[in-house]
């Protein structure tokens, strides 16, 4: 009997774990894998309740990087994806992991810097030219250097401009997230590439202005993808379809177009459902 007592604890634990068990797949549950940007901006906090109320589904949002979101889809661990990595998405579709891919919205990146604009970025029309001017003037540029989506875009933009900034004295690597990098740019009076939402959220604390925007290369286009239901019997195909249709529908598009106006004075995303893909490039 005394020997039994220590053995009882694992049994007790098993009981606890078993009590936690939920059972088979629940057709009302829906896993949405998406990027941190949609979660961080707060857009999902508005869209998901609207969808849940309308459809009766319950959505579990998982905010990760675009790469991880696509990987979760590839493994059938998510039902629907809302991502912004067009090339990787096209590969995902070509490999047959998704059944439908629809254009939802876009937001954009901007180049900010000190209002006195030492490199004359304001006068440039194309992003490529802005970067050439910064390099030619030797004006300080702060890079995130963290291999994030923003940093990858920044590298691609330098490459397109035919400039290799690595190792230059004016090229400062912060190694941090967007908010911290904007702080460094502010203290060191440098230029940096940022998504509009983060800049607007921190604008009051920064003495930095938007000096360049609007070039199509600075766009961040979001698609909704329904994961191929033949992957495993747990993928919720109907729920995924309902969510995708909701996102491109009138109500969600209106919410997207208005989102952020009350807090920042301007919307953070532009609704694009039904538009021609080519118009956004």
């Amino acid at each position: 009997m005394r020997r039994l007592l220590p053995a009882l604890f694992p049994v007790l634990l098993l009981v606890v774990v078993a009590a936690c068990g939920g059972g088979g797949p629940d057709r009302d549950e829906l896993i949405l894998a998406t990027t941190t940007s949609t979660m961080d901006s707060g857009l999902l906090d508005v869209l998901i309740p609207a969808f849940e109320e309308e459809s009766g589904y319950r959505v579990t949002p998982v905010a990760v990087g675009s790469g991880q979101a696509l990987e979760l889809g590839r493994r059938g661990e998510a039902d629907v994806l809302l991502v912004h990595a067009p090339e990787a998405e096209e590969r995902f579709m070509a490999e047959g992991h998704g059944v439908d891919r629809r254009l939802v919205m876009h937001n954009d990146f901007v180049i900010v810097g000190p209002p006195e604009d030492p490199a004359g970025a304001r006068a440039a029309a194309a992003t490529r030219e802005v970067l050439s001017r910064i390099a030619a003037a030797g004006a300080r540029f702060i890079s995130r250097g963290d291999d994030s989506g923003t940093h990858q875009l920044e590298r691609a933009l330098w490459q397109a401009a035919g400039i290799d900034p690595e190792g230059e004295a004016w090229y400062v690597v912060s190694g941090q997230g967007m908010g911290a990098t904007l702080g460094v740019a502010n203290e060191r009076r440098g230029y940096t590439l940022t998504d509009r939402a983060t800049y607007l959220a921190l604008r009051d604390r920064l003495d930095l202005e938007i000096l360049h925007q609007g070039d199509p290369v600075l766009r961040n286009v979001y698609h909704v993808i329904q994961v191929d239901p033949s992957k495993n019997d747990r993928v919720n195909a109907e729920g995924a379809q309902a969510f995708a249709e909701f996102l491109v529908g009138e109500r969600a598009q209106e919410i997207i177009g208005e989102f952020g106006r009350d807090r920042f004075g301007e919307p953070l995303f532009t609704p694009d459902a039904g538009k021609d893909e080519a118009d956004l490039r």
Binding site: V17, G22, T60, G76, E77
Partner: protein
């Protein structure tokens, strides 16, 4: 600097006004980490007692593993558990991923080696003659264990404090197995991360202040229990 004052002020008002969401997050953090600490005690104390009193081949190896486990990185725990909990994973049928239950399990995994390690150290630090004396007085084995644990109550409470502190302040595992679902799996730590990423530094500071205050209050209670009673 103004941010810190704003945070203090905001946390004060959130608590005084009785902000439902903040109270809910606070309660969830407390319950999840409390449950994890309790489960860790249920596993760790018997395991630690066993390791302290028994000699068996491979004991040094097990002890080394326990001591390494005391520094188990939460992100590793989170990664391994989320792969196990995936719906296509071996434990997928339990439907645990992205629930508070998953967070409790992850935190239990983090806390158990801490409790076990402290228990081993606490019991081994007792005078070995004490054991003989108790046995000589005719105590049963169960009574012996009970008296030893009672003698080791100071290190045992230290175990509780360390384990609770580790899990309530942990983010990596909670985000991975629980995500940050509003009204369901938000914790003080993960909600702070989200608020920071949103640039909502005021709320982030407020949540941090509340977390620190909560940890302080809980530890004050633990410490009072620990220091209570006749001579240390």
């Amino acid at each position: 600097m103004d941010l810190i004052w704003d945070g203090l002020r905001q946390s004060f008002w959130l608590l005084v006004r009785g902000d439902a969401r903040v109270y809910e997050i606070m309660l969830r953090s407390l319950l999840a980490s409390g449950a994890a600490t309790l489960l860790a005690l249920l596993i760790g104390v018997p395991a630690g007692t066993f390791l302290a009193l028994r000699r068996f081949p491979g004991r040094a190896l097990v002890l080394s593993a326990v001591h390494s486990g005391m520094g188990l990185p939460p992100v590793v725990v989170g990664l391994v558990l989320s792969v196990l909990f995936w719906r296509t994973g071996p434990l997928g049928d339990l439907g645990l991923l992205y629930t508070v239950r998953a967070i409790v399990i992850a935190q239990t995994v983090i806390a158990t080696p801490i409790v076990t390690g402290f228990t081993v150290a606490g019991i081994q630090a007792l005078d070995p003659r004490l054991r003989l004396q108790i046995l000589a007085l005719g105590a049963s084995r169960l009574q012996l264990l009970w008296l030893l644990l009672k003698e080791a109550r100071l290190p045992l409470m230290a175990a509780v404090i360390a384990a609770f502190g580790a899990v309530i302040s942990e983010v990596g595992a909670a985000i991975q197995v629980g995500s940050i679902i509003r009204g369901e799996t938000e914790l003080l730590t993960t909600a702070t991360v989200l608020a920071t990423q949103r640039g909502d530094f005021g709320l982030a500071f407020a949540l941090s202040v509340i977390l620190l205050a909560l940890v302080f209050c809980v530890n004050a209670v633990f410490t009072l229990i620990q220091q209570r009673g006749p001579r240390p």
